[in-house]
Each structure stands twice: as C-alpha cells, then as structure tokens.
C-alpha cells in the first residue's frame, strides 16, 4: 500500500474548493488501488486545516509551516515536495491545474523522473494503471492519457471536474516537515503580491457559474450590468477578447484561445457572438446560455438556451426575475 499525495492549494489558511475536489479524485483512485491519501500543505496555516482535510479523506497531512514557501519563485515548493516524495515513497501526486502550480509540477517532474498530465477532468485505474481524461484543442477532442512504466505520475486536476465529498474520516495526522532551501531556490524573489479579485466574487476558473460579456455590450458600462447579474447568481465575471481589447474589462478575465479556459456548470454569454477563438475557452461548460441580438451568431449553435434579443432589455428583466425567485 502506498500513499497518494495531494498538493493542497490554499489561501488565507483555507484550502481552496479545488483542493477538496482533488481529494475526491484521489479518494476515487485510492478506492481502486488500496492506497491511502496524504495531503501536503506548503506555507503557513496547515495545522488548522487537518480536520477539514481529514473529513475529505486525507489520513496524513505533511505540513511545512514556513513563509518561505511563497517568498521565492516556485522552487521552495518544489524542494519541499521533493522531500515529501523521497521520504514517503509516493508515486502519485495530484496538483491544482492552475498557472503557478503547473510550474511546481513541471520542475519537480524533472527532478524525480515523473510524467505530467495537466487539466484532467477524470481519473481512473485501468488494468492497474492510472489513467486521466483530458480535453484538448479547446475541448474538441477528448483524450485519455496514461503514464510510462516506472515513472512517477503527476496529475493536474481541473476546477469543478470532481465533487468534493466528506468521507467521515477524522482529522488528518499532522506530520510537520522542515526544509532547508538550496541557494538556487532563493535566487528569484517575490517582492510583492497584488490582489485584484473582488473579495465577494469568485474567480472564473473556480466559479460554478460564469457570466461573460462581449463586444455586444457596446461599452464599459455593460460590465456593471454583467456584475449585477453575476452577484445575483454568485457567479464570476469573464469577457471575450473583443471586450478586453477594448479596455472594458481587465485582460485577466479574458476567456478564449489565448486567454483562460473555463468549464463551469453554467456559462451565460451576453453580447458574445461565439467566434471559434472564444468557444475554445468555454465550450466545455456544462450548460450554456446565450443572449445576442444576432440570431445568426455561432454561439447559438452550442447554446442550451438562447435568447435572440437586446441584452439591455433582457438582462435587467432576468435580474428582476432571479431576485424575485430567490425571495
């Protein structure tokens, strides 16, 4: 019996939603292999999360309680994880398929001879081998990938691909670790951290619902309407490239071929025609709503519910309706 490691992604002492979803993915694999699931917490506040991580299936929690974990670029996390892998003998690591964590996995893979699969939306064990599902080419092809024999297996898990579940376990056993950083690890420094996300609105990658606006909004003001709709639904706000290029909304919310990929339970596109470049970033959403004046807009081809109409008439009414139904 071995250990499956889950690198916990966290903010302000709390595991992110994706971390609990990753534990669900690891539990699923452990159920097939008989392995146990261990969480790894790099940075401060790990001890406080032992209970919630245990409830979600982690039996052990390796914690490096140090502000150095994020004080330098990537390498402190790599070196800490390398130490955990070496001492635990773990062959499998689940990580968050997010920008900065993918770098940790990439660098670590070189050090410990691992294969890396990112953005997995499913995992299972087939003929004794770990297999992951991944969508490529903007969701046009669904692929299944596995690992070569004898290499360590790193699987990046996508947001919202798994449902977090409590397994009834008690607090994870805390194993404090100490890491002595190499000189190389402290070469690239983080000098400041700029938070730009509004505290009460989820990020588009994590949100179960994404409200997105495009060229059809006509102006920056349209995004106030998008935000109002998002806030009724507890949604994140995204934008098409046309809208971010016009300066109506910050670039980091751009969904599409060159921007970010989202795969929420519900995507609501307003004033978005749905050019292939945009669809490549959102067409794997589970449900798609489109509101657009142009009935010929390609987004209607993939919409589960489409309204051909003026978004400035429809969206305010929709907000009213939703507020009324929520009571």
């Amino acid at each position: 019996m071995g250990e499956l490691l889950v690198l916990i992604d966290h903010a302000e002492g709390q595991p992110r939603k994706l971390s609990l979803q990753m534990l669900a993915a690891a539990n699923q694999v452990a159920g097939q292999t008989g392995d146990t699931v261990s969480a790894v917490w790099l940075g401060e506040g790990g001890a406080g999360a032992a209970e919630v991580l245990g409830r979600h299936g982690a039996t052990k929690l390796y914690s490096w309680n140090s502000s150095d974990a994020f004080g330098y670029v990537t390498l402190p996390q790599v070196e800490a994880l390398q130490q955990v892998i070496d001492t635990s003998g773990a062959q499998v690591l689940f990580f968050a398929s997010t920008n900065l964590v993918k770098d940790v996995a990439a660098r670590l893979a070189i050090r410990v001879e691992a294969g890396v699969i990112t953005d997995a939306t499913g995992v299972e064990v087939v003929d004794g081998k770990l297999q992951a599902t991944k969508e490529v080419f903007g969701g046009e092809l669904i692929t299944r990938c596995t690992f070569a024999d004898g290499v360590k297996q790193f699987v990046g898990i996508s947001n919202n691909a798994f449902v977090a579940e409590e397994t009834g376990g008690g607090a994870a056993e805390l194993v404090e670790i100490d890491v002595t950083l190499s000189e190389t690890a402290t070469k690239a420094k983080v000098t400041s951290v700029e938070k730009q996300v509004t505290a009460d609105r989820p990020d588009i990658a994590e949100a179960a619902i994404v409200v997105s606006g495009g060229r059809g909004l006509g102006s920056e003001d349209g995004f106030k309407l998008m935000e109002e709709l998002a806030d009724v639904l507890g949604a994140g706000v995204g934008a098409s490239r046309a809208a971010t290029d016009a300066g109506w909304y910050p670039h980091r919310y751009q969904i599409g071929q060159t921007g970010r990929t989202v795969s929420p339970m519900l995507y609501i596109g307003s004033g978005i025609s749905g050019a292939i470049q945009h669809r490549a970033g959102m067409q794997t959403s589970q449900n798609i709503i489109a509101i657009n004046k142009d009935g010929e807009a390609p987004i209607f081809q993939i919409a589960d519910f489409g309204i051909v109409g003026d978004l400035y008439t429809v969206v305010p009414k929709l907000i009213e309706e939703l507020k009324a139904r929520k009571g």
Binding site: V73, K189, L266, I289, G306, R325
Partner: protein, 261 residues
C-alpha cells in the same frame, strides 16, 4: 543582450483537428497549421527588447521541416535569426521530452532571456517553460503580464487567479508571457521580405547532443492512449424576444428547472 523566443506550430483553432489513430500524434496532413497565437505576444515582447535594449533575438522551433514557414513568419516580425530542431527521433515527444530537447538547444546558444508563450493553444499543458528552466538550473518567471529588464535584472508581474506577484531575478532567466502583456503589431511588408533571407540554422538531435532515450513518442512519460471527438451538442431552446424582455421569465424558468436558482 541576447534573447531567444521558442515558438510552436499548432493546428489552426478554426480548422479541423485530428489525431492519427495509429501513432496517436496530431495528424498534420490536410489541416491548417499556424504560428501559435500566444507566440505573437512573446515575439512582440522580444521586438520591444530589440527596440529598447538593442537585443539580438533568435526564434527557436522544434518540429519537422514542413514547419519552416512558421519560423519565417516569426522572423517577419523583425527577429534576427532562426534555429530549428528537427529529427524523427523527436516526433511524438511529450511536454517533458520537448522540454529536454529545447533545453539542449538553448545550452548551445548564448542568451540572457528566453521568452516563451505561457501555453500553446493545442494541448495547453503549460509545463514546458518551467521544465526547461529546471533542466538548465535557471529561474522560471512565468505568466508575465509585465516584464522589465534593467541591467542584469529582470522584473516580472506573474499573473495568477487572484491578481499578480511582482517577482525579480538576475539574468539569465526563463520567462513566459500571457496575452495581457502587450498589443502585438503586424509584420511590415519589409519585414516579410527580409524574413526570406534571414539565417536559419537547422539542427538534429545528434547536433545538439540530445539523449534520444529521453525524447520521442517511445520515451514519453505521459502517453496518449485513446481519443474521441467531442460528441456534437443537441440543439437547445432558442427563443426570440419581442423587444419587451418577456423571454427573461422563460429563461429564469429554465434556470430554475436546472437548479441554478
């Protein structure tokens, strides 16, 4: 200063894509291939360093001979020279194998900065830049939405889900850029003409000293086993609003039936 911009040939997002069922690699026959759109941003950033710091910029591509038009396209933006790594032994490499080959090519070049795109639009794995940095023992300042070079120092604003981190390192370093970093320009006619005669250095795995037991499909650590086209979506409900916004209630009903309200 010397800058290298690794680029990738990818299937056009708007075109058809297929994976060859026999060898499980992207089937490039009869499909439209383009310079990865993210590379327009990494090339633009390099051109800006040419203008502001007098940087010499080389573009680097790993791929078959048929990918050379992609290198010429990159050169047409005003880059100085091109290096192509091409070898049958490299075909079908996974991200880690690709990183090993690119790292070997970089070892043979002089550079202060390597500027990748943060992802390629085909598989969007994102691991190559950091893996290359690891192999070369260099800092990886990836996902840059802002980049400044000052003497032997580079400062990058690294974009992530919650904002950005300001990070700094000495050169040489590996960076990758996100599309928020700049507004790419179009190649000029002069640039397109000049690109035809710029130096292109073609190298094999043996030329670079790539260990062929580490690259190629047979040595991939992550292996594609099966694939299928995404099943076509069933047609949804489309309603036409009469200008009164009355369809909003229908939409709210639908959202309620799906438990989004």
């Amino acid at each position: 200063m010397k800058v290298i911009v690794p680029v990738k040939r990818v299937p056009d997002t708007a075109g058809e894509k297929n994976i060859d069922p026999n060898d499980k690699t992207v089937d490039r026959d009869g499909i439209e291939s383009v310079l990865c759109p993210i590379n327009e941003f990494s090339i633009e950033e390099a051109v800006r360093l040419k203008e502001s710091h007098g940087a010499e910029v080389k573009v680097l591509l790993m791929g078959p001979e048929s990918a050379q038009p992609i290198l010429r396209k990159a050169l047409s933006y005003g880059l100085d020279a091109a290096v192509q790594i091409t070898d049958d032994a490299l075909a079908g490499s996974d991200a880690i194998g690709t990183a090993r080959a690119i790292a070997k090519a970089l070892e043979g070049e002089e550079f202060d900065l390597v500027i990748f795109g943060n992802q390629a639009t085909d598989a969007r794995t994102c691991v190559v830049p950091a893996a290359v940095a690891e192999i070369l023992g260099l800092p990886s300042l990836t996902y840059a939405r802002h980049l400044e070079v000052d003497g032997d120092k580079v400062v990058v604003h690294r974009e992530h889900e919650e904002g950005y981190d300001v990070v700094e390192s000495t050169l040489p370093a590996i960076v990758s850029v996100v599309e928020a970093i700049n507004e790419p320009r179009y190649p000029s006619f002069k640039g397109i003409m000049a690109a035809k005669s710029k130096p292109l250095d073609v190298k094999s795995a043996a030329d670079l000293g790539v260990d062929t037991s580490q690259v190629g499909q047979a040595n991939a650590r992550a292996v594609l086993t099966e694939f299928e086209q995404r099943p076509p979506k069933e047609a949804g409900t489309i309603v036409e609003d009469d200008g009164s916004g009355s369809t909003a209630a229908q939409l709210a009903d639908w959202m309620q039936s799906k438990k989004f309200v």
